[in-house]
């Protein structure tokens, strides 16, 4: 009586990966696939993955057979036939892989054999979900509140629609020409001109008119459903920023705090209704617009696939969403879902409750770009501009917010408390109405200047709750400023999430003396478990965040632990790769039988997955946070990426055993237009350097030369900081790929640098040797004979390399509107791999 999408027996499952990273596609899809592969393998399925992202962890999983190929219909089809694929999972790869899968299904011919079933969403539903208009019709017919748009071909028709829909309206072009706009009409006299303008942007001189919902509150809800129609709510998130600002660019808060229960209950039942309507198995994210005063709720987005909210909800609730979804997709009823590892056996069917608050702070590229002299439009709108996000955990909103800000701090220069002090009143009002990236600081500045909460809430469409919270933050900061060296104030400040460093700055002292004062007065963090039962049941917790309360739930893991400090938030030019490296490092440490403790604050990669490390701290990565964890865990060593110079220095000063993974502060820029950058890549074990290969980088493309004679470069007298992968680099006027370079050229004009993580990832995939693992072994003095044999033979293997890494085409113009060109190597958002054989019709 209930349908399962798995109509046929499942034997061979293919995952379609998410492809290169870019705006809106970070590491969450790959992390989700990576997480479920071992479970599927354990259940006896043959599992296959296709992806062309060299940073894809799933391609390196031992539980699956990987196809490192461009994500094209052609390639996927070949794999399906070759590997006898009967079942495809497109929902884990996200929107892009759903679109590829639909294209493939349409392209499928009868003589190709039976089309594989799609797990979680039946094939026709995939098509329905991919098509906005069709989905909207489906929801409307089911009586669900969606925003309908109607077409008007003339001014009269537009007037008619206006009377029907009521102001405010959004007007867009139907069949738009290349460049088009959305016009917001909130006054009667604006309509005529808007319609005229937009009609000019339409190939058919038609406009689409719909209700404007700008200014409403935006809520995200994640639910799951099993094949019998049992639905469960996993988590919710509310955007502090109103609709009109892309949700990825909004400051988001979990759980929802400012919406009354009956409205949430209604959204929940809409989400369940949609899940049933689509007959889906697994997870569903529904995005809502809500206005309580006018008793309005609209469904604005339906995403029955793994996305950023899914990933974040799993992190902030501690609920293993990917694992549960996978089992639901296989046809397991909700109450029979089995959770591996140390999860509470009944956790899967209990709705997660949060007794803490998690704040996601978007990270914008503006600071990094400004530092490189690139001017961009900083105003936030309906097109995503953020390149990542941090998540701050706390027991209060202020604590969580402050920790999220601190998590972003080291790479978000403009987040300084005095940043807004010089803004004029006019400009302040302008930015309240047209917000930019630093609006939280703007709000604080406005409150400092005495603006009323009501007034601010009205101008910004941000719930007054947040202004009162920011007000209390100001009060705390003021108290700190006025009462230096006072223990009770220190406690209050720590409870509000302020770092020792910031307090030290207020008190004109250093971080150590704050630490001393805290120790003297027993002001120490109490770690709380991320516990989906909110205290109802004894939990077998592994995930903790710091608070300053009374009960500390975390006990030292072991005397053989290594603390791994993550890379934190993504920034432009530094996206998934940091998380990729941390994940491999964790895996290698476990292989070497160390207990691992992971510290990070990013929900968009795999680093915090519960099964990859023995314990996780969801924390900012400033020295005070790291030292607090060190005090608790007393690890044997702390592994830190080399770009965290200040942290490394501070930890060393405090006598810690720091193992540094060599890394530069920024990605190097690409070679000039008619140039190639050649790098001699080598591995250093702490004593000796081993040349590996030579790579050529030109025009957004990296390849490894087949050259094997690398002995002639002298690597003996280089001054290297410690074990790791490095490169000697020089530029030449070469525009074509070459097979060989004259090593004599290296003797002059070359410079030394750590090999960028992205290149290590590519090299690892290209050579089949996970070089990060060797770095870890070298740092721990555990390189074995096999390793040295490999190092000796590495250059000889170069002839077999046939892949190249290419910068993914990121639409910077759409997202950031930079003035001038961006260096896509320095500001890389994503890369992909492709076979070396250039095909004549391929345009790169």
């Amino acid at each position: 009586m209930w349908n399962s999408t798995a109509k046929h027996p499942i034997k061979n499952i293919l995952f379609i990966g998410a492809g290169p990273n870019g705006f809106g596609v970070q590491g969450e899809n790959d992390a989700a696939i990576y997480q479920v592969l071992p479970e599927l393998h354990g259940l006896g399925y043959q599992v296959f993955v296709i992806d062309d992202n060299p940073y894809a962890l799933s391609l390196e999983s031992l539980a699956a057979q990987a196809f490192w190929q461009p994500l094209t219909v052609e390639n996927i089809k070949k794999i399906i036939i070759q590997a006898n694929i009967d079942t495809v999972v497109a929902t884990f790869g996200g929107r892009r892989s759903m679109q590829i899968w639909e294209a493939l299904a349409q392209d499928w011919q009868d003589d190709d054999g039976p089309l594989p079933q799609s797990l979680g969403l039946a094939n026709p539903v995939v098509a329905q979900v991919n098509n906005r208009a069709e989905l909207s019709t489906l929801l409307t017919e089911a009586g669900l509140p969606v925003i309908e748009s109607e077409v008007a071909a003339t001014q009269d028709e537009a007037n008619e629609l206006m009377r029907k829909i009521n102001l405010p309206l959004v007007i867009r072009a139907q069949n738009p020409i290349q460049s088009h706009t959305r016009q917001l009409v909130s006054r009667l006299d604006e309509l005529e001109q808007a319609v005229a303008e937009v009609r000019a942007q339409s190939l058919t001189a038609e406009v689409l008119i719909s209700k404007a919902i700008n200014g409403m509150k935006e809520i995200g809800m994640e639910v799951v459903r099993d094949f019998r129609g049992n639905c469960m709510q996993v988590g919710t998130s509310e955007d502090m920023d109103p609709i009109g600002i892309h949700s990825a660019d909004s400051l988001s808060v979990s759980p929802v705090l400012t919406v009354q229960d009956p409205f949430l209950a209604k959204m929940r039942s809409y989400a369940f209704q949609i899940a049933n309507l689509l007959q889906l198995e697994g997870l569903l994210h529904v995005q809502f617009a809500v206005d309580e005063a006018r008793d309005l709720i609209y469904i604005i987005k339906v995403s029955p696939y793994f996305d950023q909210l899914a990933s974040r909800v799993a992190m902030v609730t501690g609920y293993p969403l990917a694992l549960v979804s996978m089992q639901l997709m296989l046809g397991t009823p909700l109450e029979k879902v089995y959770l591996p590892h140390d999860f509470n056996e009944k956790m899967a069917m209990m709705e997660p409750m949060m007794d803490h608050i998690a704040v996601k702070l978007p990270i914008f590229p503006f600071g990094d770009l400004a530092a490189a002299g690139v001017k961009v439009n900083r105003q936030l709108g309906s097109i995503q501009k953020s390149v990542g996000g941090t998540v701050g955990f706390g027991r209060t909103f202020v604590e969580a917010l402050e920790k999220a800000i601190r998590s972003a701090h080291f790479n978000n220069r403009s987040f300084s408390p005095t940043y807004m002090a010089h803004i004029s009143d006019d400009e302040l009002i302008q930015q309240l109405i047209h917000p930019e990236d630093n609006r939280v600081l703007l709000f604080i500045e406005a409150l400092r200047r005495g603006y009323e909460v009501d007034e601010l809430a009205e101008l910004s469409h941000v719930d007054e709750f947040y202004f009162y919270q920011l007000q209390s933050l100001i009060e705390i900061e003021t108290a700190v400023e006025r009462h230096p060296d006072q223990a009770d104030i220190l406690l209050r400040a720590k409870r509000s999430g302020l770092s020792d460093g910031l307090i030290a700055r207020f008190w004109r002292t250093n971080f150590e003396s704050i630490r001393q004062l805290a120790t003297q007065h027993q002001i120490e963090p109490t770690y709380k478990a991320v516990d989906p039962s909110a205290g109802e049941f004894p939990e077998n917790a592994h995930q903790y965040y710091a608070s300053f309360e009374f009960e500390d739930e975390s006990t030292r893991l072991s005397d053989q632990s290594i603390l791994v400090v993550g890379s934190g938030a993504y920034r432009i030019g530094e996206t998934v790769i940091g998380g990729y490296a941390s994940t491999i490092i964790l895996s290698e440490l476990r292989r070497l039988q160390y207990q691992t403790v992971m510290m990070n604050n990013n929900s968009q990669d795999a680093t915090l997955l519960p099964h990859l490390s023995d314990k996780q701290y969801l924390e900012p990565l400033e020295i005070s946070d790291v030292m607090a964890v060190v005090d608790k865990e007393n690890p044997k060593a702390i592994m830190v990426p080399g770009n965290r110079r200040k942290l490394i220095r501070a930890l060393k000063d405090l006598g810690q055993n720091v193992l540094v993974i060599p890394k530069d502060k920024h990605l190097p820029g690409g070679p000039g237009e008619n140039q190639s950058e050649f790098a001699l890549n080598f591995f250093y074990d702490g004593q000796q350097a081993f040349a590996l290969n030579i790579s050529q980088h030109r025009d957004g493309e990296l390849r490894i030369l087949p050259q094997t004679d690398l002995d002639s470069v002298d690597l003996k007298d280089l001054s290297l900081p410690g074990p790791g992968l490095f490169q000697l680099v020089f530029h030449q006027q070469v525009t074509q790929p070459v097979a060989h370079v004259n090593l004599a050229d290296w003797q002059h004009d070359s410079w030394l640098r750590p090999m960028p993580f992205g290149q290590i990832a590519f090299l690892s995939k290209a050579t089949g040797v996970q070089w990060f693992r060797l770095v870890v072994r070298a740092l721990l003095g555990q390189l074995g004979e096999g390793d040295y044999r490999l190092l000796a033979e590495a250059p000889a293997c170069n002839v077999f390399l046939n892949q190249r890494m290419i910068n993914a085409r990121t639409d910077f113009q759409l997202h950031l509107q930079p003035e001038g060109d961006l260096d896509v190597t320095r500001f890389e958002m994503g890369v992909r791999v492709a076979p070396v054989e250039p095909r004549s019709h391929e345009s790169e």
């Binding site: 009956p262 209950a265 209990m350 007794d355 205290g535 109802e536 004894p538 009374f550 009960e551």
Partner: protein
């Protein structure tokens, strides 16, 4: 001002006072739900109790008249982690602090509620007091306190009242009902008579009800007079009957089952409830200190219709011979999921059938 929550086992939890500066005594329980603080503190089932909330912050929605589950809250104290400030003008006329002050209820915030809840889950409900000074005197007072077992009497209506509608005539026997029940009846356009639980069988039958509801209510079901059980035994043969919460517990008692007091009460909305007959799962707000003892069910007389899959507790019963059934959970939502609202639809369809068959 700093105030304290003291428990009879000697523990002290310190926080900042809000609401009324009163010193109160009551039994303390915890609630893990993330929403609906107003619905919960005004729910009469918590009469005489103190509630420790797991939600990280309370008060952010202000106070809204339509969210009340009774005319006035009768809890003895509210313990929260953080208290949100909201303005009291325009649509949010009232805030939580003022609301509690108005009813002379003390609140405590900036308490490590997670610690408190972890403590209470081990200890079970305890007598507790909110005080200015956590000294020997305060503890002596607490130990000497005898908590009332007259909660039903305190919260149930002493006088019959009507809520007229154009639909079926439903009699609600009031044991301290939450307003959600009336909202559900209103959704089905019922013509409602709410009667005190002391009303006689004859008086009720004279009203010729099409259906009877045994309402939710506070306290220990065993403390109600035997006459209530007799009333249920007779009425269940006369018209379709639905028992909710305390009404469910009384329905079970009337039909020969016994109740067990839970070692740690459950107040929350995240447990899966399974309907036995279809194996379907849904979620609902629960607030329970007692469950029907599985061993004491007379299976010749009753079906078990719903179970909580987390602790396997009985969440619903149905009489084999009469159209009479009951649910432990709050089928009206308010706060929480509304999936269980269909229990009321089931009830009304049963009423329709019954009327049809008997006309």
């Amino acid at each position: 001002m700093q105030r304290h929550l003291i428990l009879e086992d000697g523990s002290v939890f310190t926080g900042e006072g809000f609401g009324a500066p009163a010193t109160t005594f009551g039994e303390i329980i915890f609630d893990t739900a993330m929403t609906g603080y107003q619905e919960t503190i005004t729910n009469p089932i918590y009469d005489g109790q103190m509630i420790a909330f797991g939600m990280p912050v309370a008060g952010a929605n202000g106070i809204h008249a339509e969210a009340n589950e009774s005319m006035q809250p009768t809890i003895r104290g509210m313990i929260v982690h953080d208290l949100a400030e909201v303005s009291t003008n325009r649509q949010r006329r009232m805030n939580l602090d003022r609301f509690l002050k108005q009813y002379n209820i003390p609140g405590l915030y900036q308490v490590d509620t997670r610690q408190l809840i972890r403590h209470l889950r081990e200890s079970g409900p305890q007598r507790a007091s909110i005080v200015d000074y956590a000294d020997d005197h305060a503890f002596d007072q607490l130990i000497a306190t005898v908590l009332t077992n007259k909660q039903v009497k305190n919260t149930a209506t002493p006088k019959a009242y009507a809520n007229p509608g154009r639909g079926r005539h439903i009699v609600v026997i009031d044991f301290g009902l939450k307003h959600g029940i009336l909202r559900m009846l209103d959704d089905h356009e019922a013509n409602v008579s709410v009667l005190p639980y002391t009303t006689s069988i004859n008086e009720i039958l004279t009203l010729d009800p099409d259906g009877i509801i045994l309402s939710t209510g506070p306290g220990n079901p065993n403390s109600l007079p035997e006459s209530v059980l007799t009333l249920i035994r007779v009425l269940q043969t006369k018209a379709p009957m639905l028992g909710v919460g305390l009404g469910h517990e009384l329905f079970a008692l009337a039909n020969g089952a016994a109740l067990t007091a839970l070692p740690a009460e459950y107040h929350g909305m995240n447990h899966p409830i399974q309907e036995i007959i279809t194996q379907q799962i849904f979620y609902a707000m629960q607030g329970r200190g007692y469950v029907v003892d599985d061993q004491t069910i007379n299976h010749k007389k009753m079906f078990v219709t719903y179970r909580d899959l987390v602790d396997n507790s009985i969440q619903g019963l149905r009489h084999r011979d009469y159209p009479a059934f009951s649910v432990q959970l709050f089928a009206d939502g308010a706060p929480g999921p509304t999936e269980a609202n269909v229990v009321y639809s089931d009830f009304f369809e049963t009423v329709e059938d019954y009327v049809e068959q008997h006309s």
